[in-house]
């Protein structure tokens, strides 16, 4: 009996010791890399300040990189010396997984929005990031102009082209493209690719072939043809290959253009110029009436932890703090995006009605992030830009895509 009591006492002491160790305040230095500036930067800073107020022993250094973020992160990966916590901007699996800590056991992991699973879970079901928001978008639309022209929201590619034709005939730009930034034509290819490849009955088969390397690149011609049809029919702005992105939100506000293939952040910029502008986003058109229009969604404002970080406890605590509903709400609202965790109510301002309108719409993942090897975004940028600039043909652009796909897969 005495022996049993002794053992019980020892166990109690051990447990209380462990509990005491856990109760010890966190300490250390946490380096966080983000690319938030302006309003988003202020919001993120306030979250860091809140975390520090609760954890005075943790010193946080917020390293902000803007347009160079991806290049700098690549250099840091090459040196195997990453920040403790960093943004993965849609690439947690395809690019950063090798350097990230699995986070399935974190308390917030069970709340991740189901729609994100296809883009943030690896083949073993592991999740590596806290997804604050979902990048959920379609085609940006000048809604007032659409109504003035007597047009309905297009549901198929044919209807979409008809809208562009009507806009062109009335002296407007059908689709505005700021092609000096070659991401603009790449967005068209990336957003419309599911319409021709992954929206029909054979979607699973084509998706699998893209992932296992057996994809028939002849099928990519339809995607290039869509872009070329916009160009050849005169639906794009004359300076589509050279226009600067600085003017794309202006062109929507000024009611000069009907559609833009871009992220919702362009709408947020446009509403900064004119909060009353009747703008929004609509689902991407299906290939034909037998298929449904769809939206594209996936990882957006997500943060992961470097697996070799010396401050993993503090890093996990930071993510747990950021995962609180009020912080998810804050990030989602300043980014104009939907929350990435269940149970968070956000006020997305002018975007709210559009989020509500398309709540039941079919959502497909960002094409390149799931079906193409990391690095092909650059090829899509160059081939898209070359097509609209008259520097390439549909066939040549398809061959370039195939060569790049094979070369990048061979790096694995």
């Amino acid at each position: 009996m005495k022996k049993a009591l002794c053992l019980l006492l020892m166990a109690a002491m051990l447990l209380s010791g462990i509990a005491a160790a856990h109760a010890e305040p966190l300490s250390g230095e946490l380096i966080i890399a983000s690319r938030y500036t302006g309003v988003q930067g202020d919001a993120f800073t306030s979250i860091i300040e809140g975390f520090q107020a609760e954890n005075p022993g943790v010193k946080v250094e917020n390293q902000v990189f803007t347009s160079d973020y991806e290049d700098l992160m690549k250099a840091k990966m090459a040196a195997n010396d990453l920040p403790d916590v960093f943004m993965t901007h849609g690439w947690s699996i395809m690019r950063y997984k090798e350097y990230l800590l699995p986070l399935n056991d974190e308390p917030w992991a069970k709340d991740i929005v189901q729609g994100l699973n296809s883009s943030i879970l690896d083949e073993d079901g592991k999740v590596y990031v806290l997804p604050n928001t979902i990048a959920w978008t379609g085609v940006l639309v000048q809604n007032e102009l659409l109504n003035e022209l007597g047009l309905e929201i297009p549901k198929t590619v044919e209807e979409f082209m008809h809208c562009c034709e009507v806009a062109k005939d009335a002296g407007y730009v059908g689709v505005y493209m700021a092609g000096k930034d070659t991401r603009s034509p790449a967005y068209v290819l990336n957003l419309i690719a599911p319409s021709f490849l992954l929206n029909g009955a054979d979607a699973a088969e084509i998706g699998a072939s893209l992932q296992d390397g057996s994809f028939d690149w002849g099928k990519w011609a339809a995607v290039n043809e869509f872009l070329m049809a916009l160009k050849d029919n005169g639906y794009l702005n004359v300076d589509c290959a050279t226009a600067d992105t600085a003017f794309q939100s202006e062109t929507l506000v000024a009611k000069e253009s009907l559609f833009i293939f871009q992220r919702n952040s362009v709408l947020v910029e446009a509403w900064d110029i004119d909060p009353e502008a009747d703008l929004g986003f609509i689902p991407l058109p299906a290939k034909d009436a037998s298929e449904e229009a769809y939206l594209v969604g996936g990882e957006s404002q997500a943060f992961g932890i470097w697996k070799d970080s010396k401050n993993i406890d503090a890093a996990k605590a930071f993510l747990a703090y950021m995962a609180r509903p009020e912080n998810i709400k804050l990030i989602a609202e300043v980014c104009g995006e939907a929350p990435g965790l269940e149970g968070v109510e956000v006020d997305s301002g002018n975007l709210t009605k559009w989020f509500e309108a398309w709540a039941a719409t079919k959502t497909l993942p960002w094409f390149d992030r799931v079906y193409l090897p990391s690095g092909m975004w650059a090829t899509m940028r160059d081939t898209g830009s070359a097509l609209i600039g008259g520097e390439s043909t549909i066939e040549k652009a398809g061959e370039t895509m195939q060569a790049s796909y094979e070369q990048l897969r061979s790096q694995k």
Binding site: E70, D71, M73, K74, A75, M77, A78, N80, R95, E98, G179, K180, D181, T182, V238, D239, A241, T242, A243, D244, F247, S374, G375, W377, A378, T379, R381, D382, T383, S385, A386, L387, I388, G389, G390, E391, S392, S404, Q407, L408, S410, Q411
Partner: protein
């Protein structure tokens, strides 16, 4: 006369110690990256992963069948040699004009030299806003004259010429300064003697000025040529290498291949080629102009 004292360093040792920091810097910032660049060029490294494999000379073999590289190589030659040619012509003209004393000469020299002191990226952005389709100053002038607006940078070949012109205007001030220094070093007695012999201005220019300017031409040509062949900022800020990849220089292509295409091995092969090419061109031009200098003496 002077006896070497024990414990006092010899001249050679002093020179060695004084050059050591420079040598170390060269090793750390030039030699080591060059060797590592060559090493990376023999791999299929994506630029960030810890895994890669050596693939021999595959990246070098790919060079001359890759349309992107060939286009960038052709553009680089246009940017380098085209800009140098026009910078030399404009530089000499400005130097001849601004060597003469007149009011506001200093201001004129400063204005022409000023763009050379501004970062290429900024110069490029300013020029972009001048030649852009909408709101561009150039198109405003065209329309004022009754013409039709043009997307100046929308066609690759035309954009390459425009970038070459921008680079020429950006750095012709630097050439001008070198030529002014060259002109100032020509003794007046040559011109006086030529005048006595009845030589006119044109004959004096070709018979005295140009031969005497050869050392300045050598310096200016090499500086401008190397600058043009390494061009990066102007391409990025005016066209970003587009439409497609039609305006890339070798330097901007390396950047794109390394960071966007994630093909660090191939980017390094292009980098090694660029280094060898610029070095070879510089040696040949230097040798040719040295021969001309010797002939002019």
């Amino acid at each position: 006369m002077f006896k070497k004292k024990a414990g006092v360093a010899s001249d050679n040792q002093v020179v060695l110690v004084m050059t050591l920091p420079a040598v170390l810097l060269m090793i750390v910032f030039v030699a080591v990256p060059l060797v590592m660049g060559v090493q990376i060029s023999l791999t299929n490294w994506n630029g960030y992963s810890q895994d890669f494999t050596y693939n021999g000379l595959a990246n070098y073999k790919k060079l001359f069948s890759d349309p992107m590289f060939l286009r960038a190589f052709r553009n680089t030659i246009i940017y380098g040699f085209g800009s140098t040619l026009f910078q030399t012509i404009l530089g000499v003209l400005y130097a001849l004009l601004l060597q003469r004393a007149f009011a506001l000469r200093g201001l004129a020299r400063t204005i022409i030299y000023l763009p050379a002191m501004i970062a290429q990226l900024l110069v490029g952005y300013v020029w972009y806003f001048m030649v852009q389709y909408n709101r561009g100053a150039l198109n405003d002038i065209v329309m004022m004259l009754g013409g039709t607006k043009l997307d100046w940078l929308g066609v690759g070949d035309r954009a390459v010429i425009i970038i070459m012109i921008i680079n020429t205007l950006n750095f012709c001030g630097k050439a001008m300064i070198i030529y002014i220094a060259g002109l100032n070093s020509i003794p007046d007695m040559y011109y006086e003697a030529a005048s006595v012999d009845g030589a006119n201005g044109w004959q004096q220019f070709w018979g005295i000025t140009m031969p005497q300017l050869i050392p300045a031409i050598t310096t200016s040509t090499l500086l401008n040529l190397i600058g043009g062949l390494k061009m990066f900022g102007l391409v990025i800020s005016t066209t970003g290498g587009g439409p497609g990849y039609s305006t890339h220089s070798l330097s901007s292509l390396i950047n794109s291949l390394y960071f966007s295409y994630q093909d660090a091995g191939y980017a390094s092969a292009v980098g090694v080629f660029t280094f060898v090419f610029i070095m070879a061109v510089s040696i040949v031009i230097r040798w040719y102009l040295a021969k001309k200098e010797a002939a002019a003496q």
